[in-house]
């Protein structure tokens, strides 16, 4: 058989292929030749064939049949073979396949080889792709090499040890003795890799951290030498001596100085020195400054140093280099909470970054801007932010709008300003605002009593211009429904009143009903608004007609409303004025913005407000049916504010609020006397108890699941007025050394229960118990049966998806009794 073609020849040939098909053909031919060559156990050309195979693998073609050949090459005595063999192993083998374990023995032998370059190959391969089993078997050899005097091997052994520790954390102790003299090395390679090793050990183990804290003076000394020493051609990069080592030392100092006053003090001087003396004209210098800033902010540094750090970041912001600006914004975002005033000084620069072309920079500048808004700068900042909202990409609009709302709510200098700002947001980014902003706005508008006329006038005008942005349309319809009388009466103090007739208003509202642009929810709003106007306008007949037409609408929602309103006209006309009267001032609920942790899926989380008086609300539609039962006269029925679990299913469902306007609804309950298509709203007791969630009664927490390092604990609370609802919070923690990402918790309960799952705090469970994911579950248990739950967990761990089902039966009796 002729000698197989050379590697370069093959590469050249394949590159001449003009189509994918041609290339595939060439590859297949060559693969066939290689396969038969392998079958013949040809030692001479094995190396060449595997090299070719690796090339083809890089192009994307399968090469698994070469795996064993790689192992044979590794076992060969020839250096050329070993080199290609180890390369092949790193590219083709992975720890999932048992085949890789065959390498262990070869690596062991090579670790003890007489030639250091062979030892180097083995260390490299082990440190790159060694599996836990391999690491366990070979840790001893690595440890030995860590103590050798050969610096070429020592530096590689240190990094290999890092990998071993990552794979098998229990082996960390083993390397401790070898670390004794690592820092006294002169060789920069060994120094650098030793610092990496020490960093890894300190990050993983608090004991190691304590142990190595005594190295701080030595590290400071090394760093000092690097800065003060003259030009060293070997390690110089643009005039700076070994920046890589400097950065790593700074990072280790950060870890050692964190939450320790003495160490922090010991490094104060050197940090100040690095911060002031480093050349900033090139990226290298800035890299060191960046690391220094991160260290200063993380340790217990004195305030002068912190201000120095923030000023460095401020200077970064003015740098022409985008990368530097990006890095500055990221760091400032991390420090804005703790060093607020210092960051405020750079506000104008940050706001300028909103106009940057780079998406990442814009996003950071936006987040930072929101963090910097306060009572003093609100007007100026809002101007900039609104301008940004106008011109930014759609991906930003939702977050920006939420941020604007939040900031406006906190710092609005006047009600009129507030309403103007909101209107501006609705008109420019109306379709991107979150669902819960509509009820929030309505509440805000209701509460600004003196602005009603102005608001409704502006909203009406906006509606005339554009009916495509649903949130705007919804708020407008609601307002017109409420304050239509002010609109037509032409009273407006804040601006020139417009002349509008009742018919014109009704035209607009009816237009919304028929328009294709209106979402079903919007139609609902508009029909209700028309209905409300029946008590405010005189053209009642026209309204009656509209309402009766929609009594036969195909849309079930509209039909139901229309039928109920019709009933109001016919049988309960005496109740109509009371039912449709002006909304009273509502209590504020907590609003959510981009910088706050969102607890719900865009539902308004009615965090139990501190109510001293009854939250009185009239809900015409729902109440119509329930009132038939209770025979309420002109009474207004109090409703307790809680979120509505409309679906008994497990996932947190959307809030299908009937009116969509208020976050008020009762709990669903089996009130079967009135046949309604939707789950009926229970007017939960006519009790006037304030709704507090403070009875976290002595229900003991329990562990619901503990497997593969994932632990789920449940804690319980009881909502006061309704003992049938249990509020359970899950806490998910992770004891393994890798994060669990894309973590999703799902639960299902037997039919007699109803369950609502709110949004989780995040979906990454950090490794080594560094944090937890929490999620709130509400379970309605009217029949007081024993609570049982089936849970399904899905997450990704170390790159592979994991799924598990479990039954939770051991709920403490107090949680369901």
């Amino acid at each position: 058989m002729p000698a197989p073609i050379r590697l370069r020849e093959l590469i050249r040939t394949i590159r001449t292929a003009r189509t994918q098909a041609e290339e595939r053909e060439m590859i297949q031919k060559e693969c066939a030749a290689i396969r038969s060559s392998f079958r013949e156990e040809d030692n001479t050309y094995r190396c060449r064939n595997v090299a070719k195979l690796l090339y083809m693998h890089m192009l994307g073609y399968p090469a698994h049949f070469g795996q064993l050949e790689c192992l044979k090459l590794i076992a060969s005595q020839k250096f050329t073979d070993k080199r290609i063999g180890y390369l092949g192993a790193m590219l083709l083998l992975d720890e999932r396949q048992d085949v890789h374990l065959l390498m262990t023995n070869c690596i062991k032998n090579d670790l003890n080889h007489s030639t250091q370059y062979v030892q180097g190959l083995a260390l490299c391969t082990l440190g790159c792709m060694g599996s836990s089993e391999m690491c366990r078997d070979l840790a001893g050899e690595v440890e030995k090499l860590l103590k050798t005097s050969n610096s070429y091997l020592r530096k590689k052994a240190a990094l290999c040890a890092v990998h071993v520790i990552r794979k098998v954390p229990e082996l960390m102790e083993m390397f401790l003795p070898a670390t004794k003299n690592l820092l006294s090395e002169k060789n920069h390679g060994v120094l650098h890799t030793s610092v990496v090793l020490l960093t890894e050990m300190c990050e993983r183990s608090p004991d190691m951290l304590l142990h190595f804290r005594k190295l701080v003076p030595q590290l400071v000394r090394i760093l000092k030498n690097l800065i003060m020493s003259g030009y060293s051609p070997e390690h110089d990069v643009s005039g700076i001596s070994d920046p890589f080592l400097q950065v790593r030392i700074l990072r280790l100092l950060r870890i050692l100085g964190r939450s320790d006053d003495d160490s922090s003090e010991a490094m104060n001087d050197i940090l100040a020195q690095v911060a002031t003396n480093t050349e900033t004209s090139k990226n290298v210098g800035n890299a060191i400054l960046y690391e220094t800033v991160l260290t200063i902010m993380d340790i217990k540094s004195e305030s002068g140093l912190r201000v120095l750090a923030i000023n460095i970041l401020g200077r970064f912001l003015l740098n022409n280099d985008k990368n530097i600006r990006y890095v500055a914004l990221t760091s400032l975002l991390k420090t804005v909470q703790t060093d607020h005033n210092a960051v405020q000084r750079h506000r104008s620069t940050i706001v300028d970054c909103l106009k940057d072309l780079d998406v990442s920079i814009k996003r950071r500048a936006m987040e930072l801007s929101f963090a910097l808004v306060n009572g003093n700068n609100i007007r100026g900042m809002m101007k900039e932010l609104l301008y940004f909202l106008d011109s930014c990409d759609p991906e930003f609009k939702a977050d920006c709008a939420s941020g604007v709302f939040l900031a406006a709510e906190k710092y609005a200098p006047s009600k009129r300003w507030h309403i103007d700002t909101i209107m501006r947001v609705l008109t420019t980014a109306g379709s991107y605002v979150r669902d819960d902003s509509v009820p929030n706005l309505i509440q805000l508008i209701t509460n600004s009593v003196e602005m009603h006329a102005y608001t409704v006038q502006r909203l009406y005008k906006a509606l005339l211009d554009d009916i495509s942005q649903q949130p705007l349309v919804q708020v407008s319809s609601w307002c017109i429904g409420e304050y239509g009388d002010l609109l037509v009466s032409g009273q407006c103090e804040e601006e020139e009143p417009i002349q509008v007739t009742e018919d014109e208003v009704l035209d607009v509202l009816e237009g919304l009903l028929v328009s294709n642009l209106s979402a079903p929810v919007t139609r609902g709003y508009s029909l209700t608004a028309i209905m409300k106007l029946s008590t405010r306008f005189s053209s009642v007949n026209r309204i009656k007609k509209v309402v009766s037409i929609y009594g036969s609408s195909i849309d079930v929602e509209l039909q139901q409303r229309a039928v109920e309103y019709n009933a109001l006209f016919k049988k309960y006309d005496h109740m109509r004025p009371a039912l449709l009267e002006r909304m009273p001032i509502m209590e504020k609920t907590a609003s959510n913005g981009p910088t706050e942790i969102v607890q719900t899926n865009g539902e308004t989380e009615a965090s139990m407000p501190d109510t001293k008086h009854l939250p009185l609300v009239t809900q015409p539609a729902n109440q119509a049916n329930d009132l038939l039962d209770l025979l309420g006269g002109n009474d207004v029925v109090p409703v307790i504010q809680t979120t509505l679990p409309t679906k008994p299913a497990s996932a947190g469902g959307e809030l299908l609020d009937l009116l969509g306007d208020l976050s008020l609804s009762g709990d669903p309950a089996p009130a079967p006397s009135v046949p309604i298509s939707q789950p009926p709203f229970l007017l939960d007791g006519l009790s006037s108890q304030p709704l507090f969630n403070d009875t976290s009664a002595a229900i003991p927490p329990m562990t619901a699941y503990s497997k593969n390092g994932l632990k789920i604990e449940l804690t319980f609370e009881r909502t006061n007025p309704n003992p049938n609802i249990a509020v359970i919070t899950i806490h998910a923690t992770n004891t393994t050394e890798a994060d669990m990402t894309e973590f999703v918790f799902q639960a299902a309960v037997p039919k007699t229960f109803q369950l609502q799952l709110l949004s989780p705090s995040s979906n990454i469970v950090p490794a080594l118990n560094q944090g937890s994911v929490t999620q709130v579950i509400r379970v309605l248990n009217p029949q007081k049966q024993q609570l049982r739950m089936r849970v399904k967990l899905t997450y990704t761990h170390k790159g592979s998806p994991v799924q598990d089902l479990a039954e939770v039966n051991n709920f403490p009796p107090q949680s369901w009794q």
Partner: protein, 153 residues
């Protein structure tokens, strides 16, 4: 560092070094998506982007993109220096390196990378030392052909 990818402006992969264990399928998917994302970036944009839960640092040298994925605690700016150092090493070794050098001598590019980085971290911060080690290792290759140091395969 979790991985390093080198690819051309047409999206062809020239080198892939993975420091985390992933299946072939996952590697292909990540490569495909990341290459697309980076190639879509405009020239004026900064060298960093957030991708999945990683930070990605990339830099273009002539027709090749050098792209690294680093962890959240890693320093982006020094990663740019690492990339630059690798390019300098290649340049010194091949003498004014260009993409073709890396295509036809990909295994050497790997050898150089493996002498510079181990497990995703720099082994030696001295350019001279890394190049010396490569030179010495090349000398060990056998048998030698009519040209000194030309590999036999």
């Amino acid at each position: 560092m979790q991985f390093m990818l080198l690819f051309s402006r047409q999206g062809k992969l020239r080198l892939q070094k993975w420091y985390v264990p992933l299946s072939d399928k996952e590697k292909k998917k990540i490569t495909r998506e990341l290459v697309q994302t980076v190639l879509a970036r405009k020239p004026k944009m900064c060298s960093f982007l957030e991708w999945r839960d990683l930070k990605v640092v990339y830099k273009r040298y002539a027709s090749l993109y050098f792209c690294c994925a680093i962890e959240n605690q890693d320093n982006e700016l020094i990663t740019l220096e690492i990339i630059h150092r690798y390019v300098e090493l290649l340049d010194k070794y091949f003498g004014s390196v260009c993409e073709l050098d890396i295509i036809f001598n990909f295994e050497k590019a790997y050898f150089i990378l493996d002498e510079f980085l181990l497990g995703g971290e720099a082994q030696d911060t001295s350019k001279k030392n890394v190049l010396k080690a490569i030179e010495q290792a090349d000398l060990l290759q056998e048998p030698r052909h009519e040209y000194f140091n030309v590999p036999v395969y």
